[in-house]
């Protein structure tokens, strides 16, 4: 087999496994964990468009997640609008918000940008926590919103079983990975990387660095908001601490940094490693050592930053390439 065929075969195998998994894995608990794993892989991949390619470190993406969750939920609960429409509208609102945040903050460098985005995310949470009614919209402040599980079905993005959620988030993840792949090979991808690494040189080569970053931010915040709506429909209960929390923004950044920022597989690898740690530590140590997963994350992050500054994807892709080469060479 040639190399390309091998790569295709590997990809097909992975797809078969992920699509077939719910047929073997009947336990709702494990499916729940997998849905969250894919959700985080999706969120981190969306984040990666800005945080990876554009070379900045946004730490306020929970705000966009919250915008998505609240938009679809308020529209559905109060006005009966399908969450699918609320999802898109939330994406558009998040996108506009992302551009407005990006305009002033992309001028800042390094830690200052990160701090500004933290402030934005936290500001958003505090606002929602303290607002019961926004005009005609009922946000219900810190008590959050509940989605009554009536009218289940695809039209309302609500299901009794976990399987449909599993397939929806899986398709979303594959779509966002494909989008990232296309962008990374396009002019925008080259421009984002160039602008992130050496802005002055990029500008002199015809790159409007600020505009490219804003485009990436608009896409990233749009995609993040879609996941927010999905999460709201999945958990059927949202409150500011669950969907606009700093923990969420941090966890996305953790996954990206550990998996490998700016690479396509990095966010998926990061989520594969960290999500089970977080879920199982909650299951087994939740009562005695709550927050243990954050300590593990921190330790892993320190180790990765010291020994693998470009993330886990670096040794793993190298090993993958080596295996492929060996298989391609061996005579059959």
């Amino acid at each position: 087999m040639t190399r390309e065929n091998l790569e295709k075969a590997f990809l097909a195998l992975v797809l078969m496994v992920v699509f077939g998994l719910p047929l073997i894995l009947r336990s709702p608990t494990y499916l729940h964990i997998l849905v969250l794993l894919y959700l985080y892989a999706y969120l981190t991949t969306s984040w990666n468009l800005v945080g990876g390619f554009a070379g900045v470190l946004p730490l306020g993406h929970a705000a966009f997640f919250g915008i998505g969750a609240y938009t679809s939920t308020v529209l559905y609960v109060q006005y009966g609008v399908s969450p699918w429409f609320g999802m898109l509208l939330g994406g558009v609102i998040a996108s506009i918000t992302g551009i407005m945040i990006g305009l002033p903050t992309f001028k800042m460098r390094g830690a200052y940008f990160a701090l500004a985005t933290i402030a934005f995310g936290e500001g958003m949470r505090v606002m929602v926590e303290n607002i019961d009614h926004l005009g005609p919209l009922n946000l219900n402040g810190p008590r959050g919103l509940q989605i009554p599980p009536l009218n289940v079905g695809l039209a309302n993005l609500m299901f009794i079983n976990k399987e449909p959620y599993y397939y929806i988030i899986l398709v979303m993840l594959i779509a966002v990975l494909a989008l990232t792949y296309v962008i990374s090979r396009s002019r925008l991808g080259y421009y984002l990387n160039a602008g992130g690494e050496e802005p002055e040189a990029a500008m002199s080569l015809g790159v409007n660095v600020a505009r490219c970053k804003l485009m990436a931010m608009a896409m990233s915040s749009f995609l993040t908001a879609l996941a927010g709506s999905f999460y709201a429909q999945f958990s059927l209960f949202i409150h500011p601490k669950s969907v606009i929390s700093l923990d969420l923004s941090f966890e996305i950044a953790f996954i990206a940094l550990i998996g490998g920022r700016g690479s396509i597989v990095g966010p998926v690898l990061g989520a594969l490693l960290l999500r089970p740690v977080s879920d199982f530590s909650r299951i087994y140590f939740g009562a005695t050592l709550p927050g243990l997963h954050l300590i593990i994350f921190g330790t892993v992050l320190i180790l990765v930053m010291i020994y693998l500054p470009r993330g886990l994807q670096q040794p793993l892709t190298r090993a993958y390439q080596r295996i492929l080469n060996r298989l391609a060479q061996s005579p059959r």
């Binding site: 002019r187 080259y190 690494e197 002055e200 002199s204 080569l205 015809g206």
Partner: protein, 241 residues
């Protein structure tokens, strides 16, 4: 045809007049050299021309169009490219990637951008290293990569900021040959350089600045025998008398 005209350019940083009333012109197809002692304002003048800093006063005309407040990326699309004195490669990327950032300015298509980038790399004898990471290059190759990237944007005027600094004599000779070849391809070259041997051999005309002001202008021969130039470089005591 006049490709660049700078009139009474002034750039002030706080209390420092880095460039102080500079006038110069370049005709198409020429090689113009800009020399002057360290801190004379050469790079600042370049940055004003390339759109990095807006001039405090005075005007810059590119092909007769006033370009004072235009941004580097706009000027690039109009045909002005530059290199940096302190090289700024996209270090984590391959040479091909570096040059493709430049070729993408003229096309959106990836295939075309790659094809053109390979052409540029070949013309600068970097083809064999196309897959190497820019971070692993020697200083001579980095300087060459700077030129390759700038050329990738298909410039009409190329500003070269000390592309020979730090090179060995044989590498300087190679660079001189490269710059001559650029001129033969119809690219106008404006270069800052400290290596006198190179700039004397290359330039059609030379402008000398000192404390932001032009103190001499002419053919390499005229400039080399100008008393003010010798004084600026060697100090008052060494005046030719």
């Amino acid at each position: 045809m006049r490709i660049l005209e700078v009139r009474n350019l002034v750039k002030v940083f706080g209390g420092l007049r880095a460039v102080d009333g500079l006038d110069l012109t370049i005709d198409e197809g020429q090689i113009l050299g800009l020399i002057g002692p360290n801190g004379a304002g050469k790079s600042t003048a370049f940055n004003c021309i390339a759109g990095v800093y807006p001039p405090t006063a005075g005007d810059v005309y590119f092909y007769g169009e006033k370009t004072n407040s235009q941004k580097p990326w706009d000027l690039c699309s109009k045909g002005l490219a530059r290199t940096f004195q302190i090289v700024k490669p996209f270090a984590s990327k391959s040479l091909l990637y570096n040059v493709m950032v430049g070729t993408f300015s003229k096309t959106r298509k990836r295939g075309k951008a790659e094809e053109k980038a390979l052409e540029v790399l070949t013309s600068l004898h970097l083809y064999a290293k196309k897959d190497m990471k820019a971070a692993n290059l020697t200083i001579a190759d980095r300087k060459r990569l700077e030129i390759a990237r700038a050329l990738a944007t298909e410039p009409k005027l190329l500003l070269l900021d000390e592309v020979m600094a730090g090179l060995r004599p044989t590498e300087v000779d190679e660079m001189v040959a490269i710059i001559r070849a650029l001129r033969d391809r119809g690219i106008t070259v404006f270069l800052i350089e400290h290596i006198m041997r190179a700039i004397m051999a290359l330039s059609d005309r030379i402008v000398v600045i000192h404390y932001g002001r032009k103190i001499s202008e002419g053919t390499p021969k005229e400039v080399a025998s100008d008393e003010r130039v010798i004084k600026a470089y060697l100090g008052e005591d060494y005046g030719v008398s």
